[in-house]
């Protein structure tokens, strides 16, 4: 009975047959993890020499940069290897003659594939984890989080393996296996995303990053990585890999695909080996899907021009694309069957292609109408969510803490719902010129009749202010901004950066001080009125800032708070930390500048009011001595050693001034290309008045504005 469903001996035989490629993948992954971890330690030591220590990210992808190979390469290769017998008559006959049922052969061999994938993903990660333990202090990996990450890789691998197995069950050559696997894995979501993007482009009302379940590609771990990687949204991609719902969905999809593959294997005829497809219908579906992928570009031209007549160039484009689609149709059949006669047999199914295109075109119009028709009245909306309230998060590597927290809140304030309803109605009118006059876009989740839909709304300045005002009355919203998260949670750490995002202190050495500074900021936040506190948070661009790095379910998040006199206690503490770090470095940097023959110098002059002047200089022995060099703000100017000597003399004059609130703070960053280590060195200076050498900077760029504010020296 057991040999009907699963056979342990056959499973072991499967393990043996796959052990060579599996060991190869394990070694490659483990070695990469080992070398990456060791390399990062060496890199860190290199920074330490210059007094810069960057905390090392210890997430799964950081420790195992090629871990995606588990599902991208290992899963399809092992599956193709395990079921290779389906592509050759003699091996197909062998495995169909043995005393195990077809389902038993499938489950036993698939279990072998799954076991090897588990060994590769967990084994290689374990090697990386153990390596990090060999360098205490450099890494702070979270074992549980790494295991979740490995499990998600395994689940993604299982999904790809089941998809490949399904493809092998319906096709009979290596080429058709590969094509069918790619189609099953990516075609449905790829086509869906393409058409969603068309509707999004045409309506400007939806975003493909916010499609409802199950259309959202991030719900599937494999498409989350592939399409997420293409879109460049690394943080969302990593979040999906740790997301419980994505893991469960992909696992469920894998189980369904696995059951389908087992069923198809049971039904598969041995004689299908070496044939492009197990049946004429299966062959036609593969060919049509491939050609439809090309034809959908023709559909997109037709769809995008639906509000006007097609010009001759567009018509030509449509015809060419349809011709290419037909060529792809025949080319696939020729490559898969290697018989000219097969082209004639395949010809009738080509007639389905125009029908599919018409269906797609109709579907697009239907989808557009549905999107535009969504204009719920305020009373029909049960709640809204604001997905990118701050909208200034341009960093795709990490997620803004406040945005992330706010998007989880459900707002049901009647005034807010009315405002959102009004915006939705305005957007649905299709008046794109009106959109342009509106300054701000926001993605909102709107729940009506138990279903949440995501829309982009366009706001005027006063509408945005009104939304913020209404939100301020919400207790949960207030709590997000005033009750800042604790910094003591394992894995959290602080860095301070200059206005340009460059790290300005060896954060590891000053971690305790920085965490103390953050603690002061938390207290200051609780005391300030919410509007003022939010205003401070929303205006960080020209200010140095403290960033609390938070890891949440594998995702790196950041919480940025500026150092500003508006937060006097933390600002004073910041000055004290900088002074502590810079006091012994000033003489060093002055000497470096004097000796510098080739390198970069950056200077920021920050007033107490948060105004910021910037200068960039490129030091080269061959530079012409440019007397106007100080005029070249916001760009590179070439300076020679004469000028660096003047700069060093100026710094010599202010090197003993302690950093303090109320004075000009000068942040000097240099990079000496001739030094062994060519990284940036940052030191802070202070001056009660702007040094004479730097006067032209003021006079040229910011004179009027500074005068207005009365800070002109």
């Amino acid at each position: 009975m057991k040999k009907h469903k699963f056979d342990v001996k056959l499973y072991r035989e499967g393990l043996r047959q796959l052990q060579v490629p599996a060991i190869f993948f394990l070694i490659i992954n483990a070695l990469t993890g080992l070398l990456t971890t060791a390399g990062r330690v060496i890199n860190l030591d290199h920074y330490q020499n210059l007094d810069f220590i960057l905390p090392l990210s210890s997430g799964g992808l950081s420790l195992q940069p090629i871990i995606f190979s588990v599902f991208m390469v290992a899963a399809p290769v092992l599956t193709l290897r395990a079921f290779h017998f389906t592509t050759e008559r003699k091996s197909s006959d062998f495995y169909h003659a043995i005393p195990q049922s077809r389902v038993c052969v499938f489950t036993s061999f698939f279990a072998a594939v799954a076991s090897h994938l588990a060994i590769i993903s967990f084994g290689s990660m374990l090697v990386s984890y153990v390596t990090t333990l060999c360098f205490p202090g450099y890494f702070n990996p979270n074992f549980g989080e790494l295991m979740v990450f490995c499990f998600s890789m395994l689940v993604a691998g299982l999904y790809v393996a089941t998809v490949t197995a399904c493809a092998m069950a319906i096709s009979g050559t290596a080429f058709s296996n590969l094509m069918a696997a790619l189609l099953i894995c990516f075609a449905p979501r790829g086509i869906l995303m393409f058409f969603s993007a068309l509707v999004a482009e045409c309506t400007q009302l939806i975003s493909i990053a916010h499609l409802p379940f199950p259309l959202n590609y991030q719900i599937n771990l494999v498409t989350a990585v592939i399409f997420g990687g293409m879109s460049g949204d690394g943080a969302e991609m990593i979040r999906s890999l740790h997301s419980f719902s994505s893991i469960i969905y992909t696992l469920g999809a894998s189980l369904l695909m696995g059951a389908l593959a087992a069923f198809l294997f049971h039904k598969r005829k041995s004689e299908a080996a070496e044939s492009p497809a197990v049946s004429r219908t299966a062959g036609a579906i593969i060919r049509l899907t491939l050609s439809f992928i090309v034809a959908m570009f023709a559909v997109s031209i037709l769809y995008m021009s639906h509000h006007r007549s097609l010009d001759s160039m567009e018509l030509f484009g449509v015809l060419v694309l349809l011709l290419i689609a037909a060529m792809v149709f025949f080319l696939y059949e020729l490559l898969a069957s290697r018989r000219m006669a097969a082209l004639k047999e395949a010809l009738p199914s080509l007639l389905v292609l125009p029908l599919l295109c018409l269906l797609a075109l109709g579907g697009l119009h239907l989808a557009e109408n549905r999107v535009r028709a969504f204009q719920p009245k305020a009373e029909e909306i049960s709640h809204v969510r604001l997905l990118n309230l701050n909208g200034y998060n341009w960093n795709y590597e990490t997620v803004d803490y406040f945005d992330d927290a706010v998007k989880r809140l459900r707002f049901d304030d009647p005034q807010l719902l009315t405002l959102i309803s009004k915006c939705l109605k305005r957007g649905s009118s299709g008046d794109s010129e009106r959109y342009e006059r509106l300054t701000r876009t926001m993605t909102v989740g709107v729940k009506t009749r138990g279903q949440e839909r995501f829309r982009i709304i366009y706001l005027q300045d006063q509408e945005e202010e009104e939304i913020l005002r209404l939100l301020s009355a919400n207790a949960a919203y207030q709590a997000i901004y005033t009750k800042l998260p604790s910094a003591e949670t394992s894995g959290n750490y602080c860095t301070i950066t200059n206005w340009n995002g460059m790290k300005t202190l060896p954060s590891q050495n000053y971690q305790k001080d920085l965490l103390g500074c953050y603690q002061i900021m938390r207290q200051e936040a609780e005391k300030l009125p919410l509007e003022e506190w939010i205003d401070i948070l929303r205006n960080t661009e020209d200010l140095p800032r403290l960033t609390l790095h938070i890891r949440d379910r594998g995702t790196d998040m950041h919480l940025r708070i500026p150092f500003t006199p508006r937060l006097p206690e933390s600002y004073a503490r910041y000055m004290s930390i900088l002074e502590q770090a810079s006091a012994n470095q000033r003489e060093i940097i002055i000497q470096r500048i004097r000796q510098m023959n080739w390198g970069d110098i950056q200077m920021s002059i920050i007033s107490d009011e948060g105004e910021n002047l910037r200068a960039y200089w490129y030091v080269t022995e061959n530079a012409q001595n440019d007397p106007e060099f100080l005029d070249k703000l916001e760009g590179y100017g070439n300076i020679s050693k004469d000028m660096t000597a003047k700069l060093a003399d100026m710094l010599e004059g202010i090197k003993n001034n302690p950093l303090k609130p109320g004075a000009f703070t000068i942040c000097l960053q240099i990079q000496d290309y001739t030094a062994i280590y060519d990284d940036w060195l940052v030191v802070w200076f202070s001056s009660d008045h702007l040094p004479e050498l730097l006067q032209p900077l003021y006079e040229r760029e910011e004179e009027e504005m500074w005068e207005e504010r009365g800070v002109y020296p």
């Binding site: 040999k3 009907h4 001996k9 056959l10 072991r12 035989e13 043996r16 047959q17 017998f85 050759e88 008559r89 003699k90 091996s91 006959d93 062998f94 169909h96 003659a97 043995i98 005393p99 195990q100 049922s101 077809r102 038993c104 049971h266 005829k269 041995s270 004689e271």
Partner: protein
């Protein structure tokens, strides 16, 4: 007992096996001859459960074969086109077989490998065609199944090995009451081994009979008289064929040998010789009777008969 009833398999709208019904008892070797494309291999693939029949059924000891592990565990198939794991040697294949076949006997495997003088640690890809075939036969015999299926198995074997293999198969059949179906496109290969013979042509079973019956049912007589004579003189006899060259005639007769010879002696011939018939000749005359030309049906096999 292997039993097929109206077994039919269709490829691209053409029947590769067309309503074949047969019964093969245990303890016998069933030979199946036919030209290339006659349906021998397809018949074996149907009987071993590799192919699912379009119509009819295959029963082994009363149970269907297709996707039935309990029946398949008692049979082993050595196809014409052999399959070995990539890069494998015989020892590796033996491990694979022991994982697949519950009755695989590793000691027997080693003994057979020694008898055939094959290196079990040498990669099979380095073996000659004949050696690979020997390896496949050794692996099959080591499984000790109740049913053996050999497709064109003797091709590529030298006479010594062919004799050894035939001996081993006969031993399995006689000692363990196993049954074997052996196919070949050459009747001569099967003549001395099989208990039953069948002739396949274009997917259909033209003829099947026990070899002993075939050999005794027909006989050839050379006869001459010192007077003019013709076929009409033998009208009372069950003649299958009549040929006369000058004063000597050759008669192929179906019937009781002694009684027929007695009736011929009464006609006072000057020459009366009983000439032994080869199995090819028996097949030739039997098929002629059915309206087929043996040369057409067996192709090269037919040519061998003519030669």
């Amino acid at each position: 007992m292997i039993e097929t009833q109206n077994l039919t398999k269709i490829f691209q709208k053409k029947p590769a096996v067309d309503h074949i019904s047969c019964r093969i008892p245990r303890g016998s070797i069933y030979g199946m001859v036919g030209s290339n494309g006659a349906g021998k291999s397809t018949f074996l693939r149907l009987i071993t459960g590799i192919y699912r029949p379009e119509a009819g059924n295959v029963l082994i000891d009363g149970q269907p074969v297709f996707d039935n592990p309990s029946v398949k565990s008692r049979m082993v198939f050595v196809p014409d086109d052999l399959y070995f794991l990539p890069g494998a040697h015989m020892e590796r294949m033996a491990r694979c077989y022991s994982a697949i076949y519950p009755s695989f006997d590793h000691r027997h495997f080693l003994q057979l490998a020694k008898s055939f003088r094959l290196d079990t640690k040498s990669p099979l890809r380095n073996f000659s065609k004949g050696m690979r075939r020997q390896a496949a036969i050794i692996l099959a015999l080591s499984c000790h199944p109740d049913y053996y299926f050999f497709d064109e198995t003797f091709d590529g074997l030298d006479p010594v090995m062919r004799s050894l293999v035939k001996g081993l198969i006969c031993q399995e059949v006689t000692e363990r009451q196993a049954a074997a179906i052996v196919t070949s496109h050459s009747l001569r290969e099967l003549e001395d081994t099989c208990d039953q013979l069948a002739l396949l042509h274009e997917g259909g079973l033209l003829l099947q009979s026990e070899v002993q019956n075939l050999k005794t049912s027909l006989f050839k007589v050379q006869i001459a008289f010192n007077r003019p004579f013709g076929q009409h003189d033998f009208s009372g006899l069950p003649l299958m064929n009549y040929e006369q060259t000058g004063s000597v005639a050759q008669l192929i007769i179906r019937g009781e040998k002694d009684e027929t010879l007695g009736r011929l002696r009464v006609m006072n011939p000057v020459l009366l010789d009983l000439v032994p018939l080869s199995l090819e000749e028996v097949f030739t005359y039997e098929m002629k009777q059915l309206g087929y030309s043996f040369e057409d049906v067996l192709g090269r096999g037919g040519e061998e008969v003519s030669a």
